[in-house]
């Protein structure tokens, strides 16, 4: 883990400690994916509505705190703003609102919506003969929802090779409905598939740059829920939606370094 990824994780912990909100383990599993996207796609933090930008949608909306900390790192807004997370009339909700936060393309939270909307955007760019690309990050737990697979079927049938689905394979559903062999599933739905270490930034950037070749691309990112802090990894269900106390914050900072 490099210093930037460590600092983003530290901010996630600081803000969760301060606000009492945030799903820390899921945020930790997507940090490198978010960085790979924002270090690869066309975007301008100073002009979030730039007409030629690529699109990123965080479909697993409960990782919003991770996205806020990443957007702040790349200059969309100061990190100090995010400390109001979840407070009355804050811009920063526990799930992101596209009308309130620069860089948010879709308000998400209910699982299984982002991939369909992303497919619609990708189809629109195709019709407009525009080279803009669409990236959507979905969870393996989210993929219990049938709408994920319905949209995947349509995206493949429409040949949306400007659509990249990042699949956070953090094995979050072991206690009920695991998505086993996701790469095979996406292949059978007609996707190009790349499987990478979801915490290897350079590997992720390579996959994101690669894109689909005549078909949408699924990047199956093998990740660890809570990556970076052994306590979060060990007690993943305890920490699913729990904020650290001051003492726990120091302990987790120690584990991160």
């Amino acid at each position: 883990m490099d210093e930037i990824s460590r600092e983003i994780r530290k901010n996630i912990l600081r803000i969760s400690n301060h606000s009492g909100h945030g799903h820390i383990p899921t945020c930790f599993s997507v940090v490198e994916m978010l960085r790979a996207i924002y270090e690869t796609m066309r975007h301008d933090p100073k002009k979030p509505d730039w007409a030629e930008r690529d699109i990123f949608i965080l479909s697993k909306g409960h990782a919003a705190l991770g996205l806020y900390c990443t957007l702040a790192h790349y200059g969309y807004f100061p990190i100090s703003d995010v400390f109001s997370l979840g407070a009355f009339e804050s811009r920063f909700g526990c799930h992101a609102d596209r009308f309130k936060v620069p860089g948010i393309e879709l308000s998400t939270g209910s699982l299984g919506h982002g991939i369909g909307v992303a497919a619609g955007m990708a189809l629109a760019f195709k019709l407009l003969r525009n080279s803009r690309r669409v990236f959507v990050l979905i969870g393996d737990g989210e993929s219990n929802e049938g709408t994920v697979w319905e949209a995947a079927l349509v995206a493949s049938n429409q040949g949306l090779d400007n659509l990249t689905v990042l699949f956070d394979n953090n094995c979050s559903q072991t206690r009920c409905l695991p998505i086993t062999r996701p790469a095979e599933k996406f292949i059978s739905f007609g996707f190009d598939v790349l499987t990478v270490d979801g915490h290897d930034l350079e590997a992720l950037k390579g996959a994101v740059r690669h894109g689909g070749k005549g078909a949408p691309l699924a990047v199956v990112a093998d990740t660890v829920k809570g990556q970076g802090c052994q306590s979060l990894v060990t007690d993943v269900f305890t920490w699913h939606r729990r904020s650290p106390s001051d003492a726990e914050l120091n302990m987790l900072f120690g584990e991160l370094s």
Partner: protein
Amino acid sequence: MRRQFRDTVMRLAEDDERIVLLFGDISVYLFNEFSERYPDRLLNLGICENTLVSMAAGMSATGFHPIVHTIAPFVTERSYEQVKLDICYNGLGCTIVTCGGSFDYAWDGATHHCYTDLELMRMLPGMEVMQPGSKKEFDVLFSGCYNNRKPSYMRIAADEHGLDLPCEFGKGVVVKETTGADLTIATAGPILGNVVAACRDLPVNVLYFHTIKPLDTGLLERFAGTKIVVVHDAFGLFEAVSTACPAGGAVYHGLPDSFCCWYGTLNDIRRKIGLDPKGIRRKLELMQ
């Protein structure tokens, strides 16, 4: 009315290349000419209403004017959350045009009946809800809303009310006004034909609302001193009227609290539940 949908879209598409049709595998043959003329702009995506709505939201975000078209229950009931979140919450306007509202597919049984659509859509913030009762009303209402960047819902009906009425979005119509009448009937959509037949010689007022949201509350206020009965073969108008005139309340003459599984035709079911002219008249006579 479905042919009118095609004709209206054909006319508008000539000057507006942002119109794009997303179909749930219905009306495809009817739109053959459209497909031939604009091969990129009719997308028969499949029998997948949730994705149909989500993709319409995505296309709207890029500036298109998407029109989602499929059978009423499958998009309003099954895909309610997609309409609520992807379209309404995200402010990504599109027009949903359905067929098969109420009992237009009477013979198919309760899986294909849909009388909740208007009320479900009415409850969503920002949604415009229309139930045209004639081809002319469809043409006027659709042409006015399809490109306004707001979410809109409208039904295509299997029958029409048979009257030539003025039509302006958001404006109710006084179909009949009787001086001194203390009973006012409010209705919407094609069932107006049965209402008019039922009360031709009765001293009542008849108000017609092709636009259920926003409701023409100003028109209702004019008749606030009278008893109001909503006659409608769906939910939605009664709830809108009741919200608008809480003082005296309104009476509902419409659907029973049971599935209407008798097959047959639309008119068979209307007769069975008292929404044919005879049944409506019986209700009105009891109220007078």
